[in-house]
Assembly symmetry: C2
Homo-oligomer: 728 residues x 2
């Protein structure tokens, strides 16, 4: 397959989209696929993982580092840069096997042709480093200048975050030390290696420092320089500026070719275990591996305890916060290919237990109520006003933060799944069991019983389908609460067998025996909606009595294309149209508890009523379709999921709020659909199982996975499949 | 005092307002204070009690009878009628001691001056009858014509209701028999008695039938005729058209003077017991008695089982439906002055128990959930979409119908109060006790307990303050639910003592012993919010954490003066600003359970945060202010209540929905404030008590009341008060 993504012309309207599509990254930072001459207007950004800041009453969001990429050329003082100056030719290319971004652009100047070429990568070998090779050539003799530096006037959604920026320079480097109102610091050092004679001049202007290299260019000569951009923050150990300077210096010393080689070796190592081969469908194979590329770019590999934001490292959208997406949609990929990353992701939840406890307390509950939009320390960045009304311009009160209670179950699910897939119980011992315990206590405190009632109910929640707010007995939520209660009992039993000391400490803290009895009672009497006469499970109390309008009906009712479909008065709110898989997610997760007929009935009932207004939706429909043996039905949903970051026209607005960026949950969902759907991988009693349902036109699907410390090569073809254990 | 309301000029902008202010009525029908020449454009209407109809998907609303008042004059074929032709002089007068409406208008014609005078009344002696005396005079000789008839093209909010109308005439009468889509019929017969020679001509056009009387007028002569307009509907016994014809004929036979005398005698009889005398404040006395006038006009005296609509008989606003207003704000006046009317009102609730049971079942509850907007049979006319969004023109989903659960408590309260004030237990025996029992069962089925909770809660309701939807543990609602549970136990005990047979029948039906135990347990453990550290009772869970904005702040935030303040995104929704008395209503009702200090603290906390956007609000503040001994604070709220139908500028819109009309709950609230507030009347252990707090400038307040079969004359002055028993 072709591991290159190519653009061979320039279209200013696609700048934002390409910023996401051509993203490179290494888990520490994401470098938007912006061209080197871009500024904040073109959403150029080096987005940082897990460092947040708030300005005034704005949303708290992650920082974009001062942009060390900024570079452009001028001829006789006339600047040549996109999108301002129309090019003669332009190509932009991403090698997504190695995370290398290349552009080549020619302009016709009044003196002749000017060509700039740049290759760059965010080093997978050194997560603080971006390496760049920039080349200029002309077919005329003339005075050209290369302008390159650090642009501290960065793109911010709720900024500006940098209240102070200290700029400095010496012969072969520029530095910027930017400070925020919260006192966070980001240091950027750009080191240079020039392979030509030039006259240098450095200047600062506002928040930017720029170096001009003046060259008497000769026709046909190529003027190359390398730039080593190192980024450190005050959240990293040590002095950020010193560390950045040392990193840039070391890189310059090693040289571009060496850095690139080390970077590529790392990438090859990742693909060795994660590459998926599909015979008979190059398009699907390309899209799927491209999805995995994105997951690799944002995996929090450099950290011990860090998770992945809902829009990865593609910018400040969704506040750079961690949602349930990570555990429910991305985790499986890492569990089966790079368990260390899965551990880091779950360690983040263990580390943010205090925040989850605080949130539970704030809302009058017990235990752990995890943040809907989690930032550092478990701080819930979710605003009470997430959407702007397009008609009034007013913020709309939303309840994602306080009513999407299924988040704590997602965390518990992830922890249990880690133990199950990796066979490693250490995470449960080192805090994981307590997290699940606290989540179970949270659900216990949510339960309500009527005066003459027999069962416990969960009321006034938002399920995965966010268009219906404050519903009672959401089937998904109730079942996941029951799951959590059961998981707590199970986790504590595992803990007792594994580490008596930790068990006893928890017992002293919680009185495990009595609690287990409560959990059991609650789990047994928790109301779980069952299929009705037509086999359909009602999404929540009263759902089936709502108007049975179609998605198209609703679209026709819109007065403004950007208006929000949910909330109190959205076009979907009083209808059966849902944003995303809800009952179908429940059925996928608990597929063994229902007959094929019930699974199929519900798939067929809910799919036409689903807007798929979230990138989390299609993969659930794809997965369940595979499970009921209908891969052809699954296929379009799989492709939709796998191409979420390739195709344009995705949902970029909720009300007046920009929600664009990359879609790592869809990428994870694509992996799940291929492996757990089409190949039908599952684990039972410590053994992996395969139950393939390949699309008709796929001849073969092969991949590797890790399971309980071993690596397996799995090869599925039309008539047979093989599972080969390859050792650790 | 002056019992006349006067207008001495004509202002077209005030037509709608005067239609309410100059209303006459007799409980069977309300005749809007429209001029005789008005049509539906000027909201002329003869609004009928308790007969409803629905057109298509529109709101179900009461019928306006074909308008038998329609009358105007022409000179040489040129019509003189308001508001079309500017008058020379115009007076409109209401004698609100006797419910007699008079107008006198002169026009300058090109031939000279033309004057039309009309006096009319809706007979308090014969509820199907409106009598009218019309006079024309000129100061010139000329051909004039009097046009008079029945206009079937009536004002409808969600009409047209009449799909068919049969018009007929003979020498001295016109008839109209109008039929609706639901098959309801309204018959109108207009009988005439002419005191002059004329040439008659009758014609029909569309839904109207008109008679023209052509006169060769001589200067200074007065041409008088009487019109007897009889109205019967298919809900009355017998053939409506025959009955109407007979009624009009009998009235014509008896003559106008006789009918007027009989009418006035009835009114004097009403005032004999209800007139209130205030020395030192003619304005207050006038407004108060004018309020009582409105209550008299709409009292369902002609019926055995009928209640009062929220906008009385002033039109189709609020669908002519019965709200909690009747029991909580109007009932006390009738209990103390005309208990038969109170009985009729409560009989309506007993009769609509089946509807309340159906509604409870519909929402998954037990017992009786009374209609929020009750029409015949207890049908809940409350729409799920009560308000139109001013920004989008879309209907907004509202939850008054399903969440304002305090309605059943209001019904129970009314029934218990009837027994307490009248001493008559027959209503409890004849269905009242069962109603209360069913209301208690309803509240029982609402109760929820947390897994580790000790008390029962009521969640997801709307309290009296409708701006905050779906709140938990509204203090008013919870306390009223407890009241109902206690009342059920008490009512059943009274029943056992009074009528063993009925008691046993109920016992067989419900198993009273076990239920009483449940009611007791629930009542004891029902969570009632208590005063916090600052003495303030939180209106509902979380209320005190909402933004503490002022009413003025919110007004400044409005983008459209008509926009709805409540619902999900209204300006008040996320603030502490409330629509109307909520906690203060609770405190007034249960004033004996709190210290004066607590009552005062809450009054002072909530009053500045109350928009008083409902006519039910001010009187509660007035009553509680009296009770804490601050009549000067009460006075402006009292005056606001007593003048609700006199002053212009009241709230006439909720979103895009017209909500204007008369305000009988405010009228009832004015009575309560005078008698139970300023005079401090209460009953304890079967005895009446007086605890006066007169405003400084009131020298004396005297009135009569009925209590347990006796009539008392009560006379309160600055330093003393007297209670004189006057016999039955």
């Amino acid at each position: 397959m072709d591991w290159r993504l190519m653009e061979d012309s320039f279209d200013a309207a696609r700048i934002t989209h390409l910023g996401n599509t051509f993203l490179t990254g290494n888990g520490y930072m994401g470098v938007r696929g912006a061209l080197e001459e871009y500024g904040k207007e073109q959403l150029a950004a080096v987005n940082l993982s897990g460092i947040y800041d708030r300005v005034g009453a704005g949303w708290r969001e992650p920082l974009n580092a001062p942009n060390g990429l900024i570079t452009y050329v001028s001829v006789n003082d006339k600047e040549y840069r996109l999108p301002g100056t129309e090019p003669l030719s332009h190509t932009q290319e991403l090698d997504f096997r190695h995370g290398i971004h290349t552009r080549r652009t020619s302009w016709r100047t009044e003196w002749g042709r000017l060509t700039a070429t740049c290759q760059r990568f965010a080093s997978m070998d050194e997560p603080h480093l971006i390496c760049m090779r920039y080349r200029v050539e002309t077919d005329f003799a003339g005075d050209i200048a290369i302008h390159t530096g650090i642009d501290g006037d960065v793109w911010d959604i709720h900024g500006p975050h940098y209240t102070d920026i200290i700029l400095d320079s010496d012969d072969d480097r520029l530095t910027a030390l930017a400070s925020t109102g919260e006192g966070k610091q980001v240091a950027v050092c750009a080191g240079f290696a020039m392979a030509f004679e030039s006259e240098s001049h450095t200047s600062t202007s506002g928040k930017s420092i720029m170096r001009q290299e003046h060259i008497h260019a000769r026709p046909g000569d190529i003027y190359t320089f390398h730039k080593y951009i190192a980024v450190y923050t005050s959240q990293d150990e040590g002095d950020p500026l010193e560390n950045a300077a040392a990193c840039a210096r070391d890189a310059a010393f090693a040289g571009y070719a060496g850095a690139k080689a080390a970077h590529c070796v790392r990438w090859e190592g990742l693909w060795d275990l994660s590459e998926i081969d599909i015979e008979g469908d190059d398009e699907a194979m390309g899209a799927l591996n491209y999805s995995l590329y994105h997951l690799h770019c944002i995996a929090p590999r450099p950290f011990d305890s860090r998770s992945i934001a809902a829009r990865g490292l593609s910018g400040q959208t969704y506040k750079g916060a961690v949602f349930w997406d990570t555990e429910m949609f991305m985790l499986d990929f890492f569990l089966h290919t790079e368990p260390g990353v899965a551990r880091t992701i779950l360690q983040y939840r263990i580390g943010t237990l205090p925040g989850a406890r605080d949130k539970a307390k704030e809302y009058g509950y017990e235990g752990a109520f995890y943040a809907w939009e989690s930032q550092e320390g478990g701080y819930d960045a979710c605003s009470e006003y997430n959407i702007t009304d397009v008609f009034t311009g007013r913020p709309m009160r939303t309840y994602f933060k306080e009513k999407q209670v299924h988040i704590s179950a997602a965390v518990s699910y992830g922890l249990m799944r880690y133990a199950d897939i990796t066979g490693d119980l250490s995470l449960l011992v080192e805090g994981g069991a307590e997290v699940i315990w606290e989540c179970a206590r949270f659900y216990l405190s949510l339960l309500l019983k009527r005066f003459n009632g027999q069962s416990w109910e969960i009321r006034d929640v938002i399920g995965p389908d966010e268009y219906h707010e404050g519903v009672d007995n959401n089937a998904y939520t109730n079942r996941m609460a029951k799951y959590t209660l059961d998981a707590a009992i199970q986790a504590i039993a595992l803990l007792k067998d594994t580490d008596a000391q930790t068990y006893e400490a928890l017992d002293r803290k919680y009185g495990l025996y009595d609690s287990v009895r409560s959990f059991q009672e609650a789990s047994e009497s928790l109301y779980i909606p069952v299929p009705g006469v037509n086999g359909v499970i009602e999404q929540f109390d009263g759902y089936l009595s709502l108007e049975d309008a179609s998605v198209e009906d609703l679209r026709a009712r819109l007065l403004d294309p950007r208006e929000y479909w949910g909330g109190a008065y959205g076009v979907a709110s009083q209808t059966q149209v849902i944003k995303q898989a809800d009952v179908v997610s429940l059925l996928w997760l608990f597929r063994d508890e229902y007959t094929r007929e019930i699974l199929k009935r519900n798939w067929e009932y809910y799919e036409p009523r689903t807007e798929h207004g979230s990138s989390l939706s299609a993969c659930m429909y794809a997965l369940l379709a595979c499970h009921i043996g209908e891969p052809e039905r699954a296929y379009p949903f799989f492709m939709r999921t796998a191409t979420a970051d390739l195709v344009e026209g995705g949902k970029e607005w909720a009300g007046l709020v920009y929600i664009g960026g990359t879609h790592p949950a869809a990428a994870g969902g694509a992996w799940m659909t291929a492996i757990e759907g089409f190949a039908g991988l599952s684990a039972e009693d410590g053994q992996i199982k395969i139950n393939p349902h390949l699309p008709e036109h796929w001849d073969r699907l092969s991949f590797k996975i890790r399971f309980r410390g071993d690596i397996y090569m799995i090869d599925v073809s039309k008539d047979e499949y093989r599972i080969d254990k390859m050792g650790e």
